[in-house]
Symmetry: C2
Subunit: 349 residues, 2 copies
């Protein structure tokens, strides 16, 4: 049989005519609404398939006032993090009913204005804010005011009516310190993250508290600022290892920096973990491709994104959902930590 040249895509009207029902009935069928007799439903589906009918996305958006698009907004974060977030988010987007629009923001760009425009043009139905974007007051205010539904991943600042998904950073950092302390480390350094990421302050404060709790002194010279990049970790590592009295363990606030510290150790000929223990944070893929592999905190990034989209869809569709979701973390002990070399030499307590 000759394939009819499709001059024009079949519309809902065509299906209605062919199936001898009204367009409303076709609409009901395609939106899984009740009150359609099974026979009618089947008939409509059959005709639709025959005509290769697919509802037009734009028309749906216009009439239905929703785009079936979700925006994923993020600023400067590592490739692995973005990848995991997208993977988790995509997993929750049931096949083709919703789609993900990526919106990378370069630092310093006018995020609030773009957010407003986004809402005013009805370009997306909702927004997932990845840190540190979810902590920016101006951006947040713009979105709040626009009325666009949104959820935040791992926010640390700013109260909002929106749901958020996170993990317990404080507890995780305490796990790190506990782990190192148990190995006999007493000179523990920290490489902090980028100053404007609020997670930086959280993790740093938790670090100090955890030390205190174990009667370990916090020393300012063992605290170095980084910016969550590998390069900054490398620099911080060099700095710490050049100290007259270098630390026996270094906690980097994320894996990229931990890998940088590791490279600094390699450079300096410091054996890891024999002479230096290193702990990261995130369990991003980099943690498993360096040598030795990094002991780190597993952050459930994929699951967090999944949960975030879940909450966002609930918000959009008017279903109830928890305001705060906290997902479990865990410390993964790989090869980059070991007992302190000087543990035996030093007098206990």
């Amino acid at each position: 049989m000759a394939r009819a040249r499709a001059q024009r895509n079949a519309t809902i009207t065509d299906v209605a005519r062919e199936a001898q029902v009204s367009i409303k009935t076709v609409s009901r069928v395609f939106n899984d609404e009740p009150n359609v007799r099974p026979a009618t439903r089947d008939k409509v589906r059959a005709v639709a398939k025959d005509l290769d009918y697919h509802p037009n996305a734009a028309a749906r958006s216009l009439a239905g006032r929703r785009t079936h698009l979700l925006g994923l907004a993020y600023g400067s974060v590592s490739p692995n993090y973005v990848y995991d977030i997208q993977k988790g988010a995509a997993a929750r987007l049931e096949a083709d009913r919703y789609r993900l629009v990526v919106m990378p923001f370069v630092e310093g760009e006018e995020a609030p204005a773009r957010m407003r425009a986004l809402a005013r043009t009805s370009a997306v139905d909702g927004l997932v804010l990845v840190p540190p974007l979810g902590d920016d007051a101006a951006t947040l205010a713009a979105i709040e005011q626009s009325g666009l539904p949104y959820v935040r991943i791992a926010p640390t600042r700013g109260e909002s009516r929106a749901p958020d998904v996170s993990m317990d950073d404080r507890a995780a950092v305490d796990d790190v310190v506990a782990h190192l302390a148990a190995l006999g480390h007493r000179r523990i350094a920290i490489v902090r993250g980028r100053p404007n990421h609020s997670s930086t302050a959280i993790r740093f404060a938790a670090f100090k508290e955890s030390l205190e709790r174990r009667n370990l002194a916090y020393r300012a010279e063992l605290s170095v600022e980084g910016d969550y990049t590998f390069a900054s970790g490398l620099e911080a590592g060099r700095q710490l290892l050049a100290l007259a009295e270098p630390p026996s363990a270094i906690f980097a606030s994320n894996d990229d920096m931990a890998a940088g510290v590791l490279s600094a150790a390699h450079e300096a000929g410091v054996a890891v973990p024999r002479r230096l223990s290193i702990v990261g944070f995130d369990d991003s893929t980099i943690a498993q491709v360096v040598w030795p592999r990094l002991t780190t905190i597993h952050q459930p990034t994929c699951d967090m994104a999944h949960a975030a989209v879940d909450a966002l869809l609930a918000l959009i569709q008017g279903r109830p959902s928890p305001a705060h979701i906290v997902l479990p973390h865990r410390l993964i002990d790989r090869g980059s930590t070991a007992a302190a070399a000087d543990a035996a030499a030093e007098p206990a307590l």
Copy 2:
């Protein structure tokens, strides 16, 4: 002054009424069409700003028959690659006129059917195909038939009417072999990529030819299959280093695998680059975070994505653009390669 509660977003009609022109004129202004007097244009813009008018995306799509959305379709590729691609693509999307929809395909999923649906629902204006999706015949056929504009990044198979952006893999591989040969290496191994990626065959064939060209023997036992993952590189490295006569240099078909080989060397206590040289491919971020850093081929991934979007927009907007774009690569000599240890010991030629 009291902020008027925006009951309803301002529409083109509101602007037209307020500016005392027709809606068509407003439309002209917002679409940068000619034939509008400067004075009229200014007036319209002023009113629009006053009313905080933003054209509705859905209405535009419906009436204009284009969504201003570009799909980025990809299968199983590394996080760094995806990240670079998105970054490059986003850079070409002039602020907010076009947006990027990410479409990850899990292996074995019915890509052709989803592509057809995509086209029939007019969900996107065009598609960027990231390898190896652009090499799949069925997927390609589905898109071709649908008439959806698309471009392919680094395709290796299948003729199509669509433009493509790539680099010269063969030449790049030859650069690698030349580099190693110049360092005195004669036992050079290769870790191949995933079998169903056609780049794998290309790079492998080029490798063999390059050896021959230099009168270096190709040895089957020095060719190991991987799948472009770190884990497969690790395994391949173990295998090669366990050989009675291990290679003095290993070329891995991408950086992830090269990093895996490097870890295998660390495990085995083989000094890199003193006893073993390693070369990667791609220059993804992993190349700079392992120790030593990887000598590798810089693949201009960002630029390729940029060029791809450029070509796609040209296609969509009916502008001319080259059918094939080849971007330059270069070998980056970092720390993972050095003169062969046995170069002096072995008789020349």
